[in-house]
């Protein structure tokens, strides 16, 4: 199976509990105003990855706690992500998903299959008027965190970093996570 991705990050501490391999999928029909990643809205092919090839890369990355699906809208590519989630969980990794859909909207068979192999779900549209800076893993107050298994719990939110900055060998800065406006403005 193939996935249409925006980008991946082999290691991040700001996209869910612990050290995580982060996958930003390409394509989102929700197009929330003020979205942090509007470049991921279009469903045009961007970075096509074979699921087995991606799984192999994840499993070859040492020291991971789990995998995070973000985007873009992960549930638009639920079937391929279910394959990834199932195999990485079998290898002991947890699965964390950021989705713009509400829990009630995730009723399709494909969505339910993906939820069945998910440990933590953060769901709900991004609503700019409800922007928050002090809720871990959420960027607007309407969004909800669901711990679907006992693998992770509220205690994991205690030390959740707001943001992570990478300085590449060429000096290029990459910012990920949910940074507050003061931090964004400052940097």
């Amino acid at each position: 199976m193939q996935l249409n991705l925006a980008r991946t990050l082999q290691r991040s501490a700001a996209n869910g509990p612990g050290e995580r391999f982060v996958i930003w999928v390409q394509g989102c029909p929700l197009a929330c105003p003020g979205c942090w990643n509007p470049d991921t809205w279009t469903a045009q092919p961007r970075m096509l990855r074979d699921t087995q090839d991606l799984i192999a890369e994840i499993l070859a990355t040492e020291g991971l706690t789990g995998v995070t699906f973000s985007g873009g809208e992960p549930f638009i590519q639920a079937r391929a992500l279910t394959e990834v989630a199932r195999e990485v969980r079998a290898a002991g990794l947890s699965v964390f998903i950021f989705t713009g859909f509400t829990r009630a909207e995730l009723k399709s068979q494909a969505a339910r299959a993906l939820l069945a192999v998910t440990d933590v779900l953060v769901c709900g549209r991004y609503v700019a008027s409800e922007r928050v800076y002090d809720l871990p893993w959420r960027s607007s107050a309407n969004q909800r965190v669901h711990f679907l298994t006992s693998r992770h719990g509220p205690a994991d939110m205690a030390q959740a970093p707001e943001a992570e900055i990478r300085i590449g060998p060429d000096g290029q800065l990459t910012l990920t996570g949910l940074p507050g406006s003061k931090l964004l403005g400052s940097i």
């Binding site: 939110m157 707001e162 990478r166 300085i167 400052s186």
Partner: protein
């Protein structure tokens, strides 16, 4: 008086030419270096019309020899060798000299490329460190705890503020 024969050479770099001359037996103690060309001297002590920037005085060339000189021109050094000295220091000698010159020129080019690479690498590291220091300072000022890890040439800064 033995007339000078003029030979154009492809050699353009003073440092490499001096090194090549040393290789063929004329080290720096035997070669005069002049920013402005000076007159060459014949075997009887007579000043010649030819001038050169690099001069091997006749006593280092041979008992009845004339000065050997190299004049810097826009297209390369021009060699002046007298007809008397030409059998020993003519085209064949210049060819050997040029071969040594090319070796030194190549080594110098590599050395300069490496120096340039090191210079760029130092500038890159300085930029990355400056960015790191700036971000850390700003984040700490905003109350963040900064956890830094490095992987190869990449730096990761994890910013933690919340304590729930």
């Amino acid at each position: 008086m033995s007339a000078y024969i003029t030979l154009m050479t492809p050699m353009t770099d003073e440092e490499c030419l001096l090194a090549a001359l040393a290789d063929v037996g004329f080290d720096r103690t035997k070669v005069e270096v002049h920013v402005s060309p000076v007159s060459l001297v014949g075997y009887q002590g007579d000043q010649r019309t030819q001038t050169a920037n690099l001069v091997i005085r006749r006593q280092h060339v041979g008992s009845a020899s004339n000065d050997v000189g190299f004049l810097l021109t826009p297209t390369g050094y021009q060699a002046f060798v007298s007809g008397y000295d030409h059998p020993r220091f003519g085209a064949g000698w210049l060819e050997r000299l040029n071969q040594q010159y090319q070796l030194h020129a190549e080594a110098k080019q590599q050395r300069m490329a490496e120096e340039e690479r090191q210079h760029l690498e130092a500038a890159r590291k300085k930029l990355v460190e400056a960015q790191r220091a700036t971000i850390c300072a700003k984040a700490k000022k905003l109350g963040y705890q900064v956890k830094e890890t490095r992987a190869g040439d990449s730096i990761r800064l994890v910013l933690v503020k919340r304590t729930y």
